[in-house]
Amino acid sequence: MNDRQLHDEIERYLNGEMSRDERSAFDVLRKNDANVERQVSEQRQFVGLLKQYNERRELEQRLNAIHQEIDVHALKEELTIQPSWVVTLWRNHHSKISVAASIAIFAMLATLFFTGYFAGHDSNYTQLRMQLESYKRSNEKLSKSTDALIHDIKSGHKIIDPARFGGTGFAVSTNGYVVTNYHVVKDADSVYVQNAAGENYHARIIYSEPQYDVALLRIDDSTFKSLNPLPYAIERVGSDLGEDVYTLGYPRNNAVYDKGYLSSSTGYKDDSTSYQVSIPVNPGNSGGPLLDNKGNIIGIISGKDSHMDGSSFAVKSEYLVKAIKNMPVDSVNKKPTLNSKNTLASLSRKQQIKKLQNYVYQIKVYSH
């Protein structure tokens, strides 16, 4: 039997095409001949594999046909885990957002820088120096410089432009020493003081103690005449809590009176050099005198807490006395003699103010 014939026999055997006798004869052959046995199983496996392969192909075709019916795209949309819109926005636009954020931060820093936020003082502490509108200033300057100019010169009046900054000050001696806050005059090119009668005098900064926010000016104007003796004394020791106090200042062009009480023996952030005073004050009040009931000067109004109502601060008068003591002396600038006689004590508040008015000045600061 050649290979071909054997193959045919095996196929017939496997397909069950043999008669009973042939089949048993072949079984015997299989048993006795290992080669036949091997070929039978090989044929069975190989044909089996072909059949399985066919089944697999058909199954795959069926599955593909089913798959065609499914709207995969819609399903996919539905099933994808969508990141939140913030994440999507960030992914799509992160470069633009970064640039915008950088610009915003830069702009903010620049604004803070130019508004003097980094200049050092505390953010909640508002110094009560008045900034006067520049448009008003340039306007008035213009009108004055036209026709009034010649007239003014002829009549000997000084031409005083509206100042750039304003504050309040008060006399500490009859010979023209005026005290105010350091922060009022710190950037000054020139300083003028204006009394209640509206007369302007040029003043020079003689001495200042920035750490206590105190500055001493001296009126060096030829038209200035010595004052009458000061009606108030300067308190050399601390005052007590609850003391009724009042102030006179120039938050606007006319003197404004305000009253309150001493609410704490320390100032902003526990600063022991100042008092906390419950008194309504405004920009322009800086440098104004703080007086007690009897008319003794107990401090200099210096600022307020922008986050707390009615919470203002005043430099203690001790530091004013100290500053005057520390002032260097030369031939021109004799030390001011401090007045210790108080003539206001017996007067009513109205009368006190009337007297006081003549010694409180509006400080006008000119700078670029």
């Binding site: 045919d8 072909l50 392969y53 066919n54 795959e60 599955l63 995969v72 399903l75 996919k76 099933l79």
Partner: protein, 189 residues
């Protein structure tokens, strides 16, 4: 997803009976019922919709063969079985593409199904080889083999189709073709 799941998901015993009886409808309902689950698994783990199709069909074939072989015991839900097979297949695929970042985002519980998957992979290898051998066989051998062994056509039909004068000639031709196919198939081992 809901429109496929609602009411149309066949019960597990329905599926087993249906596949044993070659029910086209049950196969379709099975396929449609669990595809969204697998699509979700694949596309949320670095895969595409086409990957999902491949993986899912492989898993269905695993299940189909397991049921057909008669030794399928329903030890878990079919859904879990399919999910586990797909998960395993996808892990393998990810590893092959070295796209695997060590963590798969799961949506279901899963079973250890390494055995089934590996068995399937071995069989797939054989089929791929067979496909290659058949492709190399050339005509008319390929068609003769397919008709006789795969489509169960009789020698008589084959005779008529290829115009052989008698069945014996056709048989000789078929014998030669089969020998060549075997040679091609085993050559690649």
């Amino acid at each position: 997803m809901s429109k496929f799941l609602k009411g149309s998901a066949p019960t597990d015993s329905e599926v087993i009976l249906g596949i044993l009886n070659n029910s086209e409808i049950v196969l379709e309902r099975l396929y449609v019922a669990y595809f969204p689950m697998v699509l979700q698994l694949i596309i949320n783990n670095n895969g595409s919709a086409d990957d999902a199709k491949d993986i899912y069909q492989e898993a269905i074939i695993v299940l189909y063969n397991k049921i057909k072989s008669g030794n399928f015991e329903l030890s878990s839900k079919l859904k879990t079985f399919i999910y586990s097979v797909c998960r395993r297949l996808w892990l393998k695929r990810l590893n092959q593409m070295s796209r695997f970042d060590g963590d798969i985002r799961d949506f279901q519980d899963y079973l250890p199904v390494e055995d089934e998957v590996d068995k399937q992979t071995d069989r797939d290898l054989q089929f791929t080889k067979m496909e290659g051998a058949l492709a190399l066989l050339g005509e008319p051998c390929k068609t003769i083999i397919e008709d006789f062994y795969m489509h169960d056509k009789s020698m008589q039909e084959i005779c008529e189709r290829f115009g052989y004068t008698n069945a014996d000639n056709a048989k000789t031709q078929k014998y030669k073709c089969l020998q060549r196919l075997k040679k091609l198939f085993f050559q690649h081992n």
